[in-house]
């Protein structure tokens, strides 16, 4: 699996490259500024781009903007955005094109390399991975507005785990229920959110979006 890394701090860029190589990823490019990143993403067409939000030249959200720009040029290009802090605002912007293949994680999550590589693979496969911290913030609000208000507490829990990018099996394990029960909850969620049957991955993205929009 080919990845492009956009990270301005040498230590982190190098560490990421080493970690990913060790897990069998191929580093197509490792760049340190937003313009370079945009070029690398568009030219290299990696399976996934791993992007730091804050990059040169302005050291604000250049990385995020480069990633969004790349996705406009190459629709559905999977990007996993890393940051020292997470904002619902940025999560919305990343998910706004409803194409999936988006991840948004705190940099700390790199510590857990299995979960991290799993998240990369999930994003590469078109899934949506949101940081538990974003999801937690989502959980504290939105419960009063339609149509999310119609979800049962159990369904909401499942939706939160979906937003974190977990598979049905992982959700089942986490909630100590069977995978079948998870599928049932998922169907309930999709039904209540008026998501027509389609590709499961896409419906998961849309469910999370519905949650974000509430």
């Amino acid at each position: 699996m080919r990845v492009v890394i956009g990270e301005d701090l040498f230590l982190l860029r190098d560490g990421l490259a080493r970690l990913l190589s060790a897990h069998g990823f191929e580093i197509a490019a490792a760049v340190e500024s937003a313009p370079e990143l945009l070029r690398a993403l568009v030219d290299e067409r990696p399976d996934v781009g791993i992007v730091d939000v804050r990059l040169p030249p302005t050291h604000t959200d250049d990385g995020l903007r480069a990633a969004l720009q790349a996705r406009r040029q190459v629709p559905g290009l999977p990007v996993l955005v890393l940051s020292q802090y997470v904002e619902q605002l940025y999560a919305r912007e990343l998910l706004a094109d409803r194409a999936g293949g988006v991840g948004y994680l705190l940099k700390d999550r790199v510590f857990n390399d299995e979960a991290f590589t799993a998240a990369i693979r999930s994003v590469a496969a078109g899934g949506t991975v949101l940081d538990p911290e974003v999801v937690q913030k989502l959980m504290t609000r939105g419960s009063r507005t339609e149509p999310v208000a119609r979800l049962t507490p159990r369904e909401r829990e499942v939706l939160a785990l979906m937003a974190e990018g977990r598979s049905n099996a992982a959700i089942a394990q986490r909630m100590f229920i069977t995978e079948k029960a998870v599928s049932k909850h998922a169907a309930g969620i999709f039904g209540k959110l008026d998501l027509v049957p389609s590709d499961d991955d896409n419906r998961r993205v849309l469910a999370v979006l519905a949650y974000l929009d509430s």
């Binding site: 939000v53 804050r54 604000t60 959200d61 995020l64 903007r65 969004l68 720009q69 020292q84 802090y85 904002e87 619902q88 605002l89 919305r92 912007e93 705190l106 940099k107 700390d108 510590f111 913030k137 504290t140 609000r141 939105g142 009063r144 507005t145």
Partner: protein, 530 residues
């Protein structure tokens, strides 16, 4: 007696011989004398004062010797005490001079050595007694203040009131010239001047002078400019009169003029008269342009006065808000320091210790080492979380990345209530103001979620006429008291640094509206693609 003179003469000769032998040393001693005397404060003045007091008695006798001995001993062994006594000794001399002058006025005519003046016996020098008295008086008062003798405080306070330049447009010292003018005028207009009387029965001229001097002082305190004007006019008239009288004694009526008295037995009062007239006229001429300038000065411009008042208030406000801002910044730094110290720093120390322990354990018990390593990992994750929270409190990253509008949107998203945001900003707000408004809105939102029992909240951000306005409206219970709690007070202080204000309207039953207004400049709109 002859023996005594012989002994004294012998001693004097011996001293002279010694002085000649050690001429260099004597010379050096004489040169150093002023320094040495000054080193003892002004106490040395007691010696001449005592000598003068002794001389006034006419002959050197036992009392004078005792007086001088005491004075010398004081200078030698109690210079501080001598310094404290000196002003009173000099003032005493002045009073003696007054009495002496009075006595001469009444016909006393004995020869007396007063200070350096050998008065009496029909000498013109008798006229110098009063000027010398005045000099002693001034010197006494000056010394009193200078050596801080008892009573100096009162003199200082009195002088301070007189000489305080803030008490009027013109220096009060100029108005003081009114006093001699009044005194002299009274003398000239008094019957003694017209008829050559020595004294006036029942109505003492000096007492009348004092009365008028007091009246002049009152005028001085009420209107300095008019006192000085009157003084200038008076000096011109009185001085001119003196010169005229001295030049043409026959053409101008009168017998006395200041210290000159044509009726007395003294010789040469005319040159005293001329000198007095000259000095007074000179003072008058010196005063006239200053007084004129005062009168011609444009009246205070009311607009200017209002502006001055405005500026004064502004300076007061700025002083207060600046000190608030400094306090707030210092408190903030302290909070950050403490957070870092107790949080991330401590965790990093623990991290290092865990890793070191793991390093030691690896060869013997790899499993225990592994446990330590994962503990270290936990610690580093926690340190990161704490740092993240801290950074958010110092300066929210979204604000840095995206500016105020998106930062407020992000704030709304993180609010547990449904929050509607309406932003109408034609440009970007400069960062310090943006941060202040951001934290103010954050505080208002926190209050809504904590206290208002609201279902939803609405934030409106707008900019008009150079003022940024943020409005946070909730549909809660209302009845919020902005005076309660420190949160909003802190916000108010923070905004005050930028001349911003905070207003809360919260009638019982709601809605509660928090309005924040800050005057600020707007930079051109951000050209970002997002």
């Amino acid at each position: 007696m002859f023996l005594l003179i012989l002994v004294v003469l012998g001693l004097a000769c011996g001293a002279f011989a010694l002085a000649v032998i050690h001429v260099d040393r004597v010379n050096a001693w004489l040169w150093a004398l002023p320094q040495r005397l000054r080193g003892r404060g002004w106490g040395w003045l007691i010696l001449p004062a005592a000598a003068m007091a002794a001389a006034m008695t006419g002959h050197v006798h036992a009392l004078a010797v005792v007086e001088l001995t005491i004075a010398g001993a004081m200078v030698a062994w109690a210079p501080r005490l001598a310094a404290k006594v000196v002003p009173y000794a000099v003032l005493g001399l002045a009073i003696e001079g007054l009495i002496l002058a009075r006595m001469y006025h009444r016909g006393f005519n004995n020869q007396v050595l007063y200070g350096v003046v050998l008065a009496g016996a029909g000498s013109w020098r008798t006229n110098l007694v009063l000027p010398e008295t005045a000099i002693f008086f001034i010197l006494g008062v000056w010394l009193l203040v200078r050596v801080r003798a008892p009573g100096a405080g009162a003199v200082r306070a009195l002088a301070g009131r007189w000489l305080d330049p803030r008490r009027g447009g013109i220096s009060p010292r100029q108005g003081l010239f009114l006093l001699p003018v009044v005194a002299l005028t009274m003398q000239l207009l008094g019957p003694g001047n017209w008829f050559g009387f020595q004294s006036v029965d029942g109505l003492d001229a000096a007492g009348l002078d004092l009365l008028l001097a007091t009246a002049a002082l009152v005028l001085l305190f009420r209107s300095r400019v008019w006192a000085a004007t009157l003084a200038a006019a008076g000096l011109l008239v009185v001085g001119g009169y003196g010169l005229l009288k001295a030049a043409y004694p026959a053409a101008v009526p009168g017998f006395s003029y200041g210290f000159a008295d044509l009726t007395g037995p003294r010789i040469g009062p005319y040159w005293v008269m001329a000198l007095e007239g000259f000095v007074l006229l000179g003072l008058g001429l010196w005063l006239v342009p200053q007084v004129t300038r005062q009168h011609l000065a444009p009246p205070a411009d009311p607009e200017l006065a209002a502006r001055a008042q405005q500026l004064t208030q502004r300076v007061q406000t700025l002083t207060r808000t600046r000190s608030d801002a400094v306090d707030t910044a210092a408190a903030e730094l302290r909070r950050i320091e403490r957070n870092l110290h107790d949080g991330a720093q401590a965790r990093l120390v623990a991290l290092g210790m865990s890793l070191r322990a793991a390093e030691r354990l690896f060869p013997t018990s790899p499993e225990a080492a592994l446990a330590l390593v994962s503990e270290a990992k936990e610690n580093s994750a926690r340190a990161l979380t704490e740092l993240r929270d801290l950074v958010r409190g110092i300066y929210p990253p979204v604000l840095a990345d995206r500016g105020l509008a998106d930062a407020i949107r992000s704030l709304a998203l993180d609010t547990p209530l449904p929050a509607e945001v309406d932003v109408d900003l034609p440009g970007e707000i400069e960062l310090p103001v943006a941060a202040a408004v951001y934290f103010s809105v954050a505080e208002a939102l926190a209050n809504v979620t904590k206290h208002a029992a609201a279902r939803s909240v609405r934030i409106v951000l707008s900019y008009a006429a150079g003022t940024l306005r943020a409005e946070v409206t909730d549909d809660g219970a209302g009845g919020a008291d902005p005076a309660r709690g420190t949160g909003l007070a802190g916000v108010e202080r923070r905004l005050a640094t930028f001349d911003g204000i905070l207003a809360v309207s919260s009638p019982p039953g709601g809605p509660t509206i928090v309005v924040i207004e800050v005057p600020c400049a707007l930079s051109s709109a951000k050209t970002s693609s997002c």
